[in-house]
């Protein structure tokens, strides 16, 4: 950026200089090789494996189809009716909502709190930063597996803690009332580091002089945070919440090793529901309807959120 703007005539549109235009027209015949060679690979892959399947999901969702031959049995909106009538799916919707709420109310503030701590001028802060980011680097499956051990009432850490206090052990992920909260804990554990990194980047972009000015005016650290830092971090907070929402809606990998959606569908998310009811049973029409619903929810939330909260960012 800085290099491009150092040439006044180039400005923000670097290739509009007259000299460039002349040389470009001289070589314009050579545009075709680059278009023919460079665009098609990306375009083909993206169309075949992303865009077409999405369109097909919408199409298949109107059929009762096992996936072999051609879909012929048109059922209209019945698949959608079945999806919403399914109590496991309604539970999945509630769970996804709960994951969003916890992500926004617990994870984001926690991440912000930690970001302010690891950016303060004390030794070892960078080391803590690394440790806090570590869970985010691990695969969801590995994190789920590790926490399955932690939550194991016979051998895991839960058992050890119960043993320490001499009480009966509990089995959080086998209990249909507790299981979803156990999963929420892992979600926070796994993802707060990512949000913390966003906030660190945001904090480092704040002009130090503003804070110094507040200090000279006698602001306490608390006042400085709530009246100077936090308002200046607005766009980062909104971005962080955006990622929390989008990520929460797609939660799958971590739930599979922990509970697989059980016990009694108590921990289904929309994607685990799609997997266990659509993919496992090869109900292509039904599963596609779930996919379309998920897509609509994601896109509506993402666009709606951006429209309402991020229009100035």
């Amino acid at each position: 950026m800085s290099q491009a703007t150092s040439v006044p005539i180039a400005g923000s549109r670097p290739y509009r200089a007259p000299a460039t235009r002349r040389s470009r027209s001289a070589t314009s015949g050579l545009r075709w090789p680059v278009l023919v060679l460079f665009l098609p690979p990306a375009l083909l892959l993206f169309t075949i494996f992303v865009v077409l399947p999405m369109g097909e999901a919408a199409w298949y969702s109107f059929y009762n189809w096992s996936g072999y031959g051609l879909p012929t049995q048109w059922v209209g909106f019945k698949n959608y009716g079945f999806v919403f009538a399914n109590s496991a799916f309604r539970q999945a919707l509630i769970n996804n909502g709960l994951i969003i709420v916890i992500s926004v109310l617990v994870q984001v503030p926690l991440a912000l709190w930690l970001a302010t701590m690891v950016t303060s001028k004390i030794s070892g802060a960078v080391g803590f930063r690394l440790i806090f980011f570590l869970p985010y680097v691990l695969a969801d499956v590995a994190a789920g597996m590790i926490w399955r051990f932690v939550y194991d009432g016979d051998f895991g850490l839960v058992a050890g803690i119960a043993h320490l206090f001499n009480v009966d052990s509990i089995y959080p992920i086998a209990d249909k009332n507790l299981a979803i909260y156990a999963i929420l804990g892992v979600v926070v554990w796994k993802y707060f580091g990512f949000h913390m990194m966003l906030f660190i980047a945001g904090l480092q972009a704040i002009d130090k002089q503003v804070l110094e000015a507040a200090e000279i005016d006698g602001a306490t650290p608390r006042q400085k945070f709530f009246h100077v830092t936090l308002p200046l971090l607005g766009s980062t907070v909104r971005l962080s919440i955006f990622f929390a929402i989008v990520g929460s809606l797609q939660l799958f990998d971590m739930v599979m090793p922990l509970t697989g959606g059980g016990p009694f569908n108590a921990t289904q998310t929309m994607v685990t529901f799609l997997y266990s009811f659509g993919v496992m049973r090869m109900q292509v029409g039904f599963g596609s309807a779930v996919g379309v619903i998920l897509f609509i929810i994601c896109v509506t939330m993402a666009f709606g959120y951006k429209r309402i909260f991020m229009k100035n960012d």
Binding site: A4, L30, G67, M117, F128, V137, F155, K208, G291, C298
Partner: protein
Amino acid sequence: MTDAPAVSNPISFDPGRSVSAGSKIYLYTSMIIIAAIVIVPLLTTALGGFKTLGDLRGDPFGLPREWQWSNYGDILFSQRYWLQMGNSLLIACLTVFLTLLCGAMAAFTFAHVKFFGSGFLLNYFLLGLMFPAATAILPLFIRVRDLGLLDTYWGVVLPQVAFGMGMSILLFRNYFRNLPSELFDAAFVDGAGYLRFFWYVSLPLSRPIIATVGIIAFVGSWNSYLLPLIMLNSEGKYPWPLGIMVYKGEFATDWQLVLAFITLTILPTIIVFFLAQKHIIAGLTAGAVK
């Protein structure tokens, strides 16, 4: 600007002020508690792999009474561990290579070549950013099956590349556009075409963004679970996230073996993370900050 947000920069946020002793205690106590919550599950997993099942049952926190090196040894000398790590590595490398190649080429045309429909086409790719991969997983499965790619590495690699295309084109394009335009003029005066310019000028100057896109693609592929789960059938082709689930299924309650297995599968990630933390943190947050 595109590649490295100052995330890993060790300069502290509030350099003017030194921290008082009281708030130091508060800071360290809070951070140590959170760090313990992060570390203890990982540490007990690694230690648990050295224990006997009985030892684990009595005392999951403490050090092993007798170090069972054979738990780890048996896995390290087994073929399945190396096979699934190799599968993951192969799938990830193919994904990275194709993502870089296709992404950089397409982004180059968007950044430098003017053509009819360019803006529309770019938005078409960026649509992929909004898009949860899981929604179209059934049609994708049928597509891959009809192409005869089921149970092949390509059946996993190609969809992964396709889903990463939006992000990599975005990152590459922004970077290419910010390269100084004089380079472009000079190259054209010297008679270089677009292809030579791409190969001899754009790419060599783009190492930081190649690293960023490569890291995003590699980590995504290395950790990927849903796509291989649906596309691969034979255990010999399973990457490690699937392998770990199979292993857990086989040794259901032999937690000491499962823990050793988990530890060994996440060990490469942890080592690489600490060796290249600066690049990895910058890479993984770059996509978001954009």
